[in-house]
């Protein structure tokens, strides 16, 4: 016990590791117990079997499993919270100290300008000691991060002799690295997952019965009856949580990929939870296969990095791809934190490598060494073929772009971005808590998280692709959401749309804004999904909004909490969504200010903000207000039990206030955002705003206003935050009013609108016809090719073989005929003759010894005669 405490004391990163492993433990426990339970059930009548059966939970195993899983994730939440607090405290203390030293230095520098003589020397000495202290603090902080918050071990190691750098491309590691982003993600994921677990205990309680009737599956004998699967649901949830936490924990791309696939398979299992339903199993397959397309891209991205950079460790990757910020002489000017492009000069080759000329449109990228040289400026980059740890390397620029896009393709799959967004709405076939978990906190967030994590690997071109992908996605999804009538599908499309916002933010340099939105969105989207779950549960598994309406009096808690969610997602001031969404819009605004040709990247999210407000209000109004559309549903509707409402209330509170800071009304003052800010890579600032090591008062960042303000997106974003927010708010207000007019006050008739634009409506209802397109372009051709190949085997290859066999048979047949008639003919002839002679001679075989002797004597006489004759002839001859 003491050792354990010591472990956490010395390696607080283990808080997070334990938090990750707890759900895995719960998964393994439940899995083993269910397997033994299944095995024991058959032998329940024997004492041993009964003991096994009862040991593994007996008839109550479902409930036990739920408690184990919930307990594990709750404990994981506690661990992550403690870890997060410890991390923040440590980070805060170090950074405060660093800031103080910097401030002092700054002051000394100011004073130095004026001072003269002895005072100057004294000041210089003071500044020197201050600088040493600063460096010492920075070093200690770096060491603390390394020893306390990082760790890894070799999972696989291959050690060939020939290569110069023994670590390049030889080892796959598993490890963890905590920064403020992952710490926040940890808390967010475990918190929401805990609430979802609690919610599920209520929502899935049907599954506790030994026999469940599935109303959506019709068999010849009425509805399907099957065993309840309460335990299995929680088992999947546990595995899901483990995978997601492992993904957040990972310090290298390989581990991310491991979890990435595991997350995919969990979503597959959960979406296909009602596996008797054809639609559910189809949706599960679709989700997994679509994700696998993204994964294939991810693998390719990893391959490129592995081949050219030789490592998957993210920190090492960034260190090699991005130029260092400073060396012993101070800041590295001009290229600090950037991807350095240039050209290799094949005519200027020495033993150390080829000369690298830096150029903004060069075809190659300089890779920086593991061990940077001390005086960076003194080094003229020479690129070695197989670089040693202290040599530079290079890779083609387009390869780096491709690597980035490959990784991004993985994120596109996971985060359901255009063009792989099709799986997510179908995934609504899973139980509602699953939708909440997948869509809010975990799986779809993973893509955005990874783009944020790998930010330094993306080149400018790749980022532009990301931004446009996000822009298209958010618009497409929002338009579809407008016409959807299934309450969960509306939420699904809104999720896709919001994820598009995050991607767009990351693409235009709003790293903080995107990830900030990720966290806030997790809360209110979880709330909305759980709320919809509560509605569905209350309405006895009715999901169509066209059959709801007027539910407000019957389910007040659900309605009010959901209203909070709707307002948050619409971006009403002081709700969480407002802080993050405005930040995104501001960043987009800043971006188009610098790059006016990308105007679309601001217009799309702006318009979509209005559309979002419209369809979210529409959803809420259709569900809770007005007259009931279906009396039957309305009559039986009821408020959900406490395990479901409590999570709703908690999430509702979070949706309102999780992003608050002081002063409340300052959109830039969010406490959460400031915390996310700590994790921001210098690379972001290098790409979108120049790095300057003079001091800033703002958020403790390492930058101030750019030297060239005309080219600085961050500055414009900061300055125009309120402008962008205000424009958006106007649009949001229009959207809400419009929705109210149609669905609440019934000023306008939605059916009329439908009739006026039948084609548009059909187009939107058909989800922009993506499914049909993919079916025609990918799915069917794949099947056809498969059949071709199978037929090729049967016809062509086996045909050739059969033909060979037949011709061999043919030859052998002729051979056989020859044998039969010619060779055998002769042989048979001889045989027959002999047989005939023998048959005739049979009578000679008298059985009397004496006659044999006579024959012998005769024969002897004959032989003797013949011999005598021949011998004579011979003698004569």
């Amino acid at each position: 016990m003491m050792n354990l405490l010591l472990l956490f004391g010395e390696h607080p990163g283990w808080f997070f590791v334990v938090a990750t492993l707890l759900p895995l433990l719960s998964f393994v426990l439940i899995l083993l117990a269910s397997a033994l339970w299944c095995a024991g059930r058959a032998y329940r009548n024997t004492p041993g079997g009964a003991a096994l059966f009862n040991l593994c939970g007996g008839e109550e195993r479902g409930r036990t499993a739920a408690f184990v899983a919930t307990g594990a994730i709750a404990l994981a939440f506690v661990f992550s919270l403690v870890g997060c607090i410890r991390f923040s405290v440590q980070q805060h203390s170090f950074e405060t100290a660093i800031k103080q030293h910097e401030k002092a230095l700054h002051e000394f520098a100011q004073k130095l300008k004026e001072a003269k003589g002895e005072a100057k020397e004294e000041l210089e000495a003071k500044a020197k000691s201050e600088k040493e202290k600063l460096e010492d603090q920075e070093k200690r902080w770096a060491d603390a991060r390394k020893t306390y918050w990082q760790g890894h071990f070799d999972w696989l190691r291959i050690s060939p002799k020939g290569i110069a750098d023994a670590d390049s491309g030889t080892v796959l590691q598993l490890g963890f690295k905590i920064d403020s982003l992952s710490a926040i993600m940890f808390v967010m994921v475990t918190f929401i997952a805990t609430l979802i677990h609690v919610f599920s205990i209520g929502y899935m309680s049907d599954e506790l019965q030994p026999e469940v009737e599935d109303h959506q599956v019709h068999t010849a004998h009425g509805h399907l009856h099957r065993r309840g699967r309460f335990g299995r649901f929680f088992m999947y949830l546990s595995l899901f949580c483990f995978s997601m936490l492992n993904l957040v924990l990972a310090d290298n791309l390989f581990q991310v990929f491991l979890s990435w696939e595991l997350v995919g398979v969990c979503s597959y299992l959960l979406i296909g939870f009602y596996n008797e339903r054809q639609s559910a199993s189809n949706a599960a397959n679709k989700a997994f296969i679509t994700n696998r397309i993204g994964d294939a891209g991810f693998i390719l991205g990893m391959l490129i990095l592995w081949t050219h950079v030789g490592t998957f460790n993210m920190e090492e990757l960034f260190q090699r791809v991005r130029a260092p910020l400073n060396d012993t002489h101070g800041a590295v000017e001009g290229v600090a934190g950037r991807i350095v492009r240039g050209n290799l000069d094949p005519n200027n080759t020495t033993k150390a490598g080829q000369r690298f000329t830096i150029a903004n449109d060069g075809s190659d990228v300089l890779l920086f060494p593991h061990r940077p040289p001390e005086h960076y400026h003194a080094i003229v980059p020479r690129v070695a073929e197989n670089p040693k740890p202290d040599q530079h390397g290079s890779m083609p620029y387009w390869m780096l772009v491709a690597a980035g896009l490959g990784i991004f393709l993985g994120c596109v799959g996971k985060s359901a971005q255009f063009p792989l967004q099709v799986w997510l709405p179908d995934a609504m076939e899973g139980p509602t808590p699953v939708s909440a978990l997948i869509h809010a906190a975990t799986m779809v967030a993973a893509g955005v998280y990874l783009v944020g994590r790998c930010y330094p690997l993306f080149t400018y071109d790749a980022l532009l692709v990301i931004a446009y992908t996000g822009g298209i996605t958010l618009f497409v999804a929002a338009t579809i959401a407008v016409v959807m009538t299934d309450i969960k599908k509306v939420l699904a499309y809104s999720t896709v749309s919001q994820l598009g916002y995050m991607m767009l933010a990351l693409g235009v340099g709003g790293w903080v804004a995107g990830l900030f939105h990720l966290v806030t969105h997790a809360f209110f989207k979880a709330l909305l999904f759980l709320g919809s779950g509560s509605v569905i549960h209350g309405c006895h598994h009715e999901q169509e909004m066209t059959k709801m309406g007027g539910l407000f009096p019957k389910m007040k808690i659900t309605a009010l909490t959901m209203l909070a969610g709707v307002l948050a997602i619409s971006g009403i001031p002081l709700f969480t969504g407002w802080y993050s969404k405005d930040a995104i819009l501001a960043q987009a605004f800043g971006f188009i200010y610098v790059h006016p040709q990308h105007l679309l990247l601001f217009l799309l999210p702006l318009a979509t903000a209005g559309i979002t407000a419209f369809y979210m209000s529409r959803m809420w109004l259709m569900t809770f207000t007005g007259k009931p559309r279906d009396e039957h549903v309305h009559e039986h509707a009821h408020e959900s039990p406490w395990p479901m409402t409590v999570p709703l209330i908690v999430l509702g509170i979070c949706s309102v206030g999780i992003a608050w800071g002081w002063p409340l009304w300052d959109a830039e003052a969010s406490f959460l955002e400031a915390n996310v800010h700590h994790a921001q890579y210098p690379a972001v600032l290098a790409d979108f705003g120049h790095i300057d090591y003079s001091l800033s008062e703002h958020h403790g960042e390492y930058w101030v206003a750019a030297k060239d303000e005309a080219q600085n997106e961050r500055v414009f974003a900061y300055r125009n935050h309120h402008l962008a927010g205000n424009i958006a708010f106007v649009l949001v207000a229009i959207g809400i009013v419009f929705a109210g007019a149609i669905y609440w006050k019934r000023v306008l008739d939605p059916a009329e609108a439908k009739e006026q634009f039948p084609r548009l409506h059909a187009f939107l209802m058909d989800k922009w016809r993506f499914d049909r397109l993919y079916s025609a372009v990918f799915v069917r051709p794949c099947l056809i090719v498969g059949h071709w190949f199978a037929a090729f085997d049967l016809r062509a290859i086996d045909g050739v073989i059969h033909a060979v066999a037949r011709s061999a048979m043919w030859v052998s047949k002729w051979d056989g005929l020859f044998d039969h008639h010619i060779i055998d003919g002769v042989v048979n002839l001889v045989g027959n003759t002999i047989y005939g002679v023998g048959a005739r001679l049979r009578s000679v075989q008298t059985g009397f010894l004496r006659s044999y002797v006579l024959f012998l004597v005769l024969a002897a006489a004959g032989i003797f005669l013949a011999l005598a004759y021949f011998v004579r002839m011979a003698m004569a001859g």
């Binding site: 004496r850 006579l854 006489a861 005669l865």
Partner: protein
């Protein structure tokens, strides 16, 4: 001396031939055995006459003393049942005799016609037959025991000098063979135990 040898030869030849004919012609098997005894004795006499003392004495010892005793034993062992008629028909007699005469005719005619190179052989008749020590040496594997010379009775083209030969191995084989045969005979002839039915 020559005449004596000739007379001896003709006497022995006559004895042998008559006794052999008697073996053929007699119907009593015991008598046949007796006639056979004389035949074999006559043959051994001829061997002595030819100077092959060892072969002659072996003939006496093995044949007369051994084989014939065996035959007599056989006769006695098998003659205890009531005598069945073992005569054969006259026709068969006739055929057998005819065939026998034919064979004899063929043999004697070929002998007379082919005329073994008598004169050639007679040149060497002076040489004495080797005594039994030479025989023994040959059987013990000394090849030099037998003299060299050209094979006779062959076409000229095929004549070549024969090499000294020894007979140790055949001798051994024969002795082992004899042993095996005796054991086999004992096995075959042993009293059968009737199986309980």
């Amino acid at each position: 001396m020559d005449t004596l040898n000739d007379i001896l030869f003709y006497v022995l030849m006559a004895t042998t031939c008559i006794c052999a004919l008697a073996v053929v012609l007699t119907q009593n098997i015991v008598r046949a055995a007796a006639w056979l005894l004389f035949t074999l004795a006559g043959v051994s006499g001829l061997f002595f006459l030819l100077g092959a003392e060892f072969v002659g004495s072996t003939q006496l010892l093995v044949y007369v003393g051994g084989t014939l005793v065996l035959v007599v034993f056989g006769v006695m062992l098998t003659a205890q049942g009531p005598f069945v008629n073992m005569r054969i028909g006259a026709a068969e007699w006739a055929i057998a005799l005819a065939v026998g005469l034919v064979l004899y005719g063929v043999l004697s005619a070929s002998l007379i016609i082919s005329k073994p190179p008598q004169s050639d052989l007679n040149r060497h008749v002076d040489a004495t037959m080797p005594d039994s020590s030479v025989l023994g040496a040959s059987l013990l594997g000394q090849g030099q025991a037998s003299p060299t010379g050209f094979l006779t009775g062959m076409p000229p083209a095929m004549r070549r000098e024969r090499k000294p030969m020894a007979y140790l191995l055949p001798f051994e084989i024969v002795s082992v063979h004899l042993l095996v045969v005796l054991i086999g005979a004992a096995y075959l002839a042993r009293a059968k135990r009737r199986r309980a039915v």
